[in-house]
Symmetry: C2
Amino acid sequence: MEGNIESKFKAAVSVDNVIFGFDNNDLKVLLIYRGAEPYKDCWALPGDLISLDQDLEQSAENVLQNLTGLDNIYMDQIHTFGRVDRHPFGRVFTVAYFALIKIQDYMVKPSSWAEEAAWFPINEVPELPFDHMEILAYAKDLLKNKIRHQPIGFELLPKYFTLTEIQSLYEAILETQFDTRNFRKKLLSMNLIVDTGRQQKEVAHRPAKLYKYITKRYAQLQQSGFSFDL
Amino acid sequence: MEGNIESKFKAAVSVDNVIFGFDNNDLKVLLIYRGAEPYKDCWALPGDLISLDQDLEQSAENVLQNLTGLDNIYMDQIHTFGRVDRHPFGRVFTVAYFALIKIQDYMVKPSSWAEEAAWFPINEVPELPFDHMEILAYAKDLLKNKIRHQPIGFELLPKYFTLTEIQSLYEAILETQFDTRNFRKKLLSMNLIVDTGRQQKEVAHRPAKLYKYITKRYAQLQQSGFSFDL
DNA sequence: TTAAATAAGTGTATTTTGCACACTTTGCCT
DNA sequence: AGGCAAAGTGTGCAAAATACACTTATTTAA
């Protein structure tokens, strides 16, 4: 390293993840219970300081991986927060990410938790430390916008899902109601999901057909100028 | 400061601005000619290291202000770049911003330049150092998406503009052609711009009407569930 | 076995929006 | 006065969005 950088410019940089899940018609966020200062014994967004030999993206993935044991997850950078006084121990910038996970995949192996963690319905999140409330607000907003223009809702659903499930996912996130017939017509006309021939089991009513999302299809369609919209 | 942060986490953070302008039917970017190492004597995005007592947003605004003398400019955070080896002198994260300026306002007082700077048409940008090419690509992309859903195109035009000007702005950024009649119909139906009664002067053909953008109107309409789309 | 309960699934008519398309007007210049 | 250059303007057709209500499949309890 030839021309070193003056220490008056040196700050810490962290990543914070807003991890979304969907379950029982509720959009949920995964929070951790802080075991160390500052803000010990508070619920907060999972995050970590970035060490100098780690790429930014990599750090965000590591936080997720350490917490959930999951890999190959949809993640997206949200925004970077850098108020001078946002951290009580010194100057810390934080780069916020969001991740969408299939909550069912995660629930089955909670033994991998490095720290105490819990899912909170998006409207029952406790007061969060630092500027995490602001980060969460940004994340919700981005999710709302993104889900209408990109087929990312499927990341929150199990591999096989019903049309009712995806509709209520959209309704939960966008905080609106859709007409069932119109919603289905539009969704199916995009040819991104297919009927698998399977059915729901063990429900106390007419079982719904199970569909799956065809990842490749979207990539193909995009070439031809197709744009997702719901 | 009670619990200090270990120095193994300390990196530098900079801001880099992608400053867009529109002139002569061309979308342009403002680049500076670097007078210092690294990459001395290269054209690059204007940027600066953030000092510890400065908020992130503030730093981005300062870079713009120092370069152009302009204030109250539309700016937006794009993305943060944090590859380990992106800077040859050490670990430097950079937060990229974009700014939209009325190029005419700027052109008249180039004396305020702190460094040598020049406008480059977006398709004639020279090879840029660091990951600035990647940053520029992100910025173009964001601009393309944003301009279709938010009335930010006006930030690139003079206070009074013609319908032809705004159409060619959209055509330049989106790299498409619009039908004049349909474009005008849609734009005018949003009630965001009004005919000022003024006219173009000193053109060798029928002078066009001059319109202006009503900032307040958009805020009002948003309340009523209106969404901008072009 | 039958009836009730629950959610799944399905079609049509109307309104709105998007899109294609070509000629006339205004003012300047020579 | 005639030519030039860009501004400005309306209609018809096709596609998409919206509003709207009943039938079907399965489980559970009488």
